[in-house]
Structures are given as C-alpha cells and as structure tokens.
Symmetry: C2
Subunit: 196 residues, 2 copies
C-alpha cells in the first residue's frame, strides 16, 4: 500500500497523541498532494526545531534560546509559578493573566508510579530560591491526589526561604489538567489564589 | 511562547486535517520530549517520502515506484476499479476483497465547483482502455450527486470500448466517503455489484 517509505511515515504519524491509522493516512495523503507546500516545509520545520529548540536550564521551558525568553524578560515580576509541564506554562501564558516567571517540574510525585522528588526539577527550583530575589511562589499544580502531594512536599521544602507560597484557588476542576482549561477559568483561579 | 521555530512548527501541525492548535501543541511537545526518537525520525521519514514517493503515471496511486506496485503486480486480475482518491484505493486494498487494478480520478465532476472532465484523470483511463486487455471496469465512486454524475459521464465515454461496466451495489451509504467505511460494508458492496 504505497511502499515502505509511505507505510513508515503513516505509522509514525499514527503514534502521535490523538492520532490513529485513519487520521495518519489522511494527513500523509494531504502532505503528499502538496509536496512543496506541505511535506517539505514540515520536514524543514521539524529539522529546525530539533536543532534550535532546547530546554531552558533555568525554568525548564522549551525555547530557541537558553535561558528562555521568559527567564530573560526583565519586566517579569519576581514571582515563580511552579507548573507540572511545559504545556501548562504555555496555557498560563496564553491566558495573559500572569506576568511572573515559571518553573517546570516535569511531573508530579507519584506513589503509584514510584516517581520520587529526585525525578522532578526540584533541585533547580531550590537553587533559584537560594539566589534570592523571589517575592512569591505560586503552586499551579494539577488538582489531583499526586498534584496535592507534590504541593505539600514543595511547601515543606520551600518553607526555609520564608517566601510567601500560594496556590491556585479552587476553581480548577478536580482531576483536571491545566492545559485543557479555558482562559477564563485559569484567570479566575489565579486571581483568587490563596495562601498555601 | 517558545520561539519562532516552535511557533512555526505548531502552526504547521495545526493546519493538518483533523488537528487544531491544542492537538498541535500536544504533538509538538511530545516530539520535543523525545527528540532523537520522535522529532528527528519523523523529519527523516518526511524527507524520504518527499524524495521517493510519486504519483503512479498509470493509475494515479502514490508509491515509491512508478508504475506502482499494484500496476506491476502480474497476478492482478484484468479489471480496473475507478476510485475518486488514493485514500479510496487504500481503503479497498485494506479490505482484501478486490484483486484487480485501479484508476484514481483525483476528484469527481462538480457543477457547483466548476470541475470539468479535463481536471480529472479521464484521458489516462481512456488510454488504458485503448491499449486493450481490460475485462471489466468497476466504478467505485462516492454515492453523492457528484459521484453519480461522474459515473454517468464515464459510462458514456467508456461505452465504445465494449467492456462490461459495473458499479458498487447500493449498500454504500448515501453521501458516504468510501474511505470511512468498514471493511465488511466495502466487501458486501463489491460482491453485490451490478451492471452500471
Ligand atoms: Zn526559562
Ligand atoms: Zn499504478
């Protein structure tokens, strides 16, 4: 059905999140119909991103500069919003309701998956606090059991810096990932944030 | 939000069929998390497909050889199944119910879109019939107004070759694209095909 290269390409698309064999075939056929305007530019964009996009060594964001554009933006407030994933960071940026900096943990603690503190970017967060100048830490972790356990753990570890710690107000639906929330919900939860 | 390269890549994914900004962001984040196993191999597979996959000059299928593997397979029956798109050809191949050859029209006639016969691959189909040896033509066009008009037009043009023309039995849902049908429906419609 179209040769090895074609089958290989369809298989790769079918493995991407949210896609399956049928949607992968539709995508590949569309890309091949518009080779010069579809397939080739996408291959180039992937190559460019592979070469130029890196994880920010300060906050864990993905960007073409390291430190990332957010970390180097001088007008950002001296707050750190702690999120689970880069997707969550992007969701907050799109909501345009927060003007501080971020820290991407890269996951939550999980007793079930055996994921401990050393697997999350907690050491770099402590290092940022040791360097001083941080006025507030906002925990924007998912409203799940693991998210709550992670928040609890961080509050203990961060206590010694005597920096105010808050978390997103209830308003974030239980079990909901930040990434899929609408901007209004995110704005409300952030504005109504309380002491952690 | 991640630099120009990243935004560019997300925009390109978001334009693909069935995807939007949210699913594009999820895909790009996953690819970047697994750069060496995700992003780079996908870029390579796209490059390889761009270089090696071509439209078959005989039937219009997409393949890494021209003529395609189906056109050169000697055990195929001397029938030609006329389909609208490569996706339809692939759907019939996946159903494993047809052992003949194909012809991809590349569309249907459409009064509304002003798409006439010269925009479809009708001339190459006539050429194949002029070369002789074709025992049957099966019209597997969509059960839409445009599909029916195209079938009618083809029947007129193909009459002079005195080759039996059939079409898929009713059983293909009205307005339905072949591509989304299950294999059982396709098998039934093909087996019960009647004179056109
Ligand atoms: Zn950063
Ligand atoms: Zn062919």
């Amino acid at each position: 059905m179209g040769g090895t290269e074609l089958e290989n390409l369809i298989t790769m698309f079918a493995r991407l999140p949210g896609l399956g064999p049928r949607s992968a075939r539709r995508i590949v056929l569309k890309l091949l119909r518009e080779k010069e305007n579809g397939l080739v530019p996408l291959a180039d964009a992937l190559r460019n991103a592979a070469a130029s996009v890196h994880t920010c060594s300060v906050c864990g964001n993905l960007d073409s500069s390291d430190p990332c554009a957010i970390c180097t933006e001088t007008l950002r407030e001296a707050r750190i919003c702690v999120v689970e994933t880069v997707a969550d960071l992007w969701a907050l940026e799109r909501a345009h309701v927060y003007r501080g900096k971020y820290h991407v943990l890269g996951g939550t603690l999980s007793a079930l998956s055996g994921r401990g503190p050393e697997e999350l970017a907690i050491a770099p967060l402590l290092k940022r606090l040791e360097q001083g100048g941080v006025e507030e830490i906002i925990l924007a972790l998912p409203a799940t059991v693991d998210g709550a356990a992670t928040a609890h753990y961080l509050i203990e570890r961060l206590r010694r810096f005597a920096v105010p710690i808050s978390r997103l107000a209830q308003g974030v639906p239980i079990g909901g990932a930040l990434e899929v929330l609408d901007e209004g919900t995110l704005a409300t939860a952030l504005r109504a944030r309380g002491a952690a």
